[in-house]
Amino acid sequence: MIHNPVPMSWYLILSAILFGLGVAGFIYRRNIITVFMSIELMLNAVNLTFITFSYKLKQVDGHIFSFFVMVVAAAEAAVGLAIILTVFKNRETLMIDDVSSMKY
């Protein structure tokens, strides 16, 4: 078993597990930064599926897509963290439940 090739589905299942953990973290955590990191975890999980399918199709396009995901994640992190800094400056809190004035 150790020397057999790894079935592709395992990678996908790993990706699903990580994605699920990301979703759970997003819902469960209350610190904005941790919530943000949960999003990054989800993005990583998606990247893993891209790379896996790229291997299956023997095409490099999946890598390109995950590359773009990374770049977008970098942009998102820059803006998102700036927003978090501003929120903290204005409200002195990082708890996501305290930032709920955007409602009816």
């Binding site: 979703v23 997003f26 819902i27 209350r30 919530v35 996501i96 439940d97 930032v99 709920s100 004035s101 955007m102 409602k103 009816y104």
Partner: protein, 613 residues
């Protein structure tokens, strides 16, 4: 030959002056404005020299603009003999007026704006002239309308100027409406807008005895032409357009733009000649306009208004020429008119400039000794427009009148009467301005060379322009009409009679004019008030439209129906939203939970639908 260069030069000038003019010194603005038109003129000359005799049309295709189904409209420029005449008139006279404007506008605010608009006008006018299809012509047509509007309202701080601009714009809309209907009908009938295709197809159709499709198209085109070229019933905007600076009146409202209707009629000759009813309408409208405008011109006291009505009247002549089939005579008159009417306006501008803005003839007089060059050049223009033998007006006007006689003798006689009135009112203006004693209070002075130079050039053209045998040049396109020396000399004689009368009334027996006016006070009041046409339009058209808009459209439709509908939708949505807003708690984590639930539902739906194979 790169025809596109001709219009693009003024456009570049417009961009430079329009975008950066505010910060540029006047010399730079002059350089861009005059230089661009000069280059355009030079290139036009080079193109025409390069093309030689122009036996056939020279077309340049640039790119496809609109492609929709079978309709294929491209950006094409073309030059034929008709376009060649127009090109020379537009760029040549335009150049002279640009140069003149340096002097005339030197003390005015918005200097760069004026030249930017003027250059933009040149661009659109050249597009109009060079266009090889109806849509591109329409682009130029609308563009010159826009520039006309902008330049009439140039003194936009004055209420009358903005009103005049609006009036010109709105009246032109009516004409453009007809024009666009005509374009639609052409598309429907011929499946193309290209001049060559449309006219070739039209030539194969039989001449319509009754009211056929060509008649309808031609009449609609005529509606457009009456708007742009100020013919009855849409002429009312042109006298008011004199609110703009005088060079604008000369360039746009005398020499070039207002002749676009004549040009378009001549261009569409293939359509008109197959629709006799439309031809007759053109002739009758032209004749009526010529006559009525001339009568109004008899009693005006504002020097620019006199020339404005004169313009309307002369445009009527051109339409008369086109209507009786003498297209080449119409174009001939267009060209000579461009010379002497531009000169009249520029001369009037020089007078106004010299009198610091005074336009009333009653406040002038005896100016001859103060501004000799202006007086002499204006005299040249006056004899030209009066049809004095061997001046330019003599040849072109008589070509039209002779052709009219061929069609119907009464047209000729009305035309001759009008010619007499023309000579009378033009010389009335000249005598009032330059002879006798000075009646005003300003200190008259001669204009600088930059203004008088163009005047002298135009004076030469006015006197000698008749020897440019345009009808012969245009012969391959329009059949040349027969000549008739007797008729020509008759009308010239009537013109001389008009001059003599004017001399009698305003120089020899100055009191006579007032006594005649008082003895026929009813008629005098009628023509002094321009037949009350503006009041008539205001009562019958403008007021009903305004009232209708105010009561039915605004209070009824807009406030009642549309607002009610929108508000009703708003109130209902608010009601629904009041319930739904409970979902929007502001708590991000609950949103996330909803998103997760939703995606799980989607996944389940896909799975149940058998997507998981």
């Amino acid at each position: 030959m790169a025809l596109w260069l001709i219009p693009i030069f003024p456009f570049i000038g417009f961009l430079l002056n329009g975008l950066f003019g505010r910060r540029l010194p006047k010399a730079m603005i002059n350089l861009f404005a005059i230089g661009s038109v000069f280059l355009s003129f030079l290139w036009a000359v080079r193109v025409l020299l390069g093309l030689g005799a122009l036996e056939t049309k020279y077309v340049e295709h640039y790119f496809t603009w609109i492609q929709s189904g079978n309709l294929n409209i491209s950006i094409d420029f073309a030059v034929d003999r008709l376009t060649a005449v127009m090109l020379m008139v537009v760029t040549g006279v335009g150049l002279l007026i640009h140069i003149y404007s340096i002097g005339y506008m030197s003390d005015e605010g918005g200097y760069y704006r004026f030249f930017a608009y003027l250059n933009l006008f040149m661009f659109f006018m050249l597009v109009l002239v060079l266009a090889q299809n109806f849509l591109l012509l329409f682009v130029g047509w609308e563009g010159v309308g826009l520039c006309s509007y902008l330049l009439i309202g140039f003194y936009f701080l004055e209420q009358y100027a903005t009103n005049a601009g609006n009036k010109a714009f709105i009246v032109n809309r009516i004409g453009d409406f007809g024009f666009s209907l005509a374009v639609f009908l052409i598309v429907r009938q011929f499946g193309s807008l290209d001049f060559t295709k449309v006219f070739d197809a039209a030539k194969t159709m039989p001449v319509e005895s009754g009211a056929g499709i060509l008649t309808v198209i031609s009449l609609l085109l005529l509606v457009g032409a009456t708007g742009k070229s100020a013919q009855i019933p849409l002429y009312v905007w042109l006298p008011d357009a004199m609110a703009g600076p005088t060079p604008v009146s000369a360039l746009i409202h005398a020499a070039t733009m207002v002749t676009a209707g004549v040009y378009m009629t001549a261009r569409s000759a293939a359509l008109f000649t197959h629709a006799p009813i439309a031809m007759d309408s053109v002739a009758v409208i032209g004749l009526a306009t010529a006559f009525f405008a001339a009568t109004i011109g008899l009693a005006q006291t504002d020097i620019k208004k006199v020339f404005a009505y004169s313009t309307v009247s002369q445009l009527g002549y051109m339409f008369l020429g086109a209507g009786v089939g003498a297209f080449s005579a119409g174009i001939f008159h267009l060209m000579t008119h461009a010379f002497f009417k531009a000169l009249l306006f520029l001369g009037a501008g020089a007078v106004i400039h010299g009198l610091h803005g005074e336009q009333d003839l009653r406040q002038m007089g005896g100016l001859f000794k103060h501004m000799r060059i202006t007086a002499i050049t204006l005299l040249c223009a006056s004899v030209a427009i009066s049809g004095f033998p061997f001046t330019s007006g003599f040849f072109s006007k008589d070509a039209i009148l002779v052709a009219a006689y061929e069609r119907a003798p009464w047209m000729y006689w009305v035309g001759v009467l009008t010619a007499g009135m023309t000579a009378f009112y033009v010389f009335r203006a000249w005598f009032l301005a330059f002879t006798g004693e000075y009646r005003g209070h300003a200190h008259p002075h001669e204009s600088p060379l930059v203004m008088t130079g163009p005047l002298m050039l135009l004076a030469l053209l006015s006197l000698g322009g008749g020897f440019i045998n345009i009808p012969h040049w245009l012969e391959p396109m329009f059949a040349e009409k027969p000549e008739n020396q007797v008729l020509a000399w008759t009308s010239a004689g009537v013109g001389l009679l008009g001059i003599a009368l004017a001399y009698l009334f305003y120089v020899a027996r100055p009191g006579l004019a007032d006594s005649v006016a008082s003895s026929m006070s009813g008629l005098y009041k009628l023509i002094y008030n321009k037949y009350f046409v503006d009041e008539f339009y205001s009562a019958t058209v403008v007021q009903p439209v305004v009232d209708g808009s105010r009561t039915v459209l605004w209070r009824g439709l807009d406030a009642g129906v549309i607002d009610g509908l929108v508000n009703g939708v708003g109130i209902r949505s608010r009601g629904v939203g009041r319930i739904l807003r409970l979902l929007q708690s502001g708590n991000i984590r609950s949103y996330a939970a909803w998103v997760v639930l939703g995606s799980i539902a989607v996944l389940l739906a896909i799975g149940l639908a058998g997507g998981a194979r």
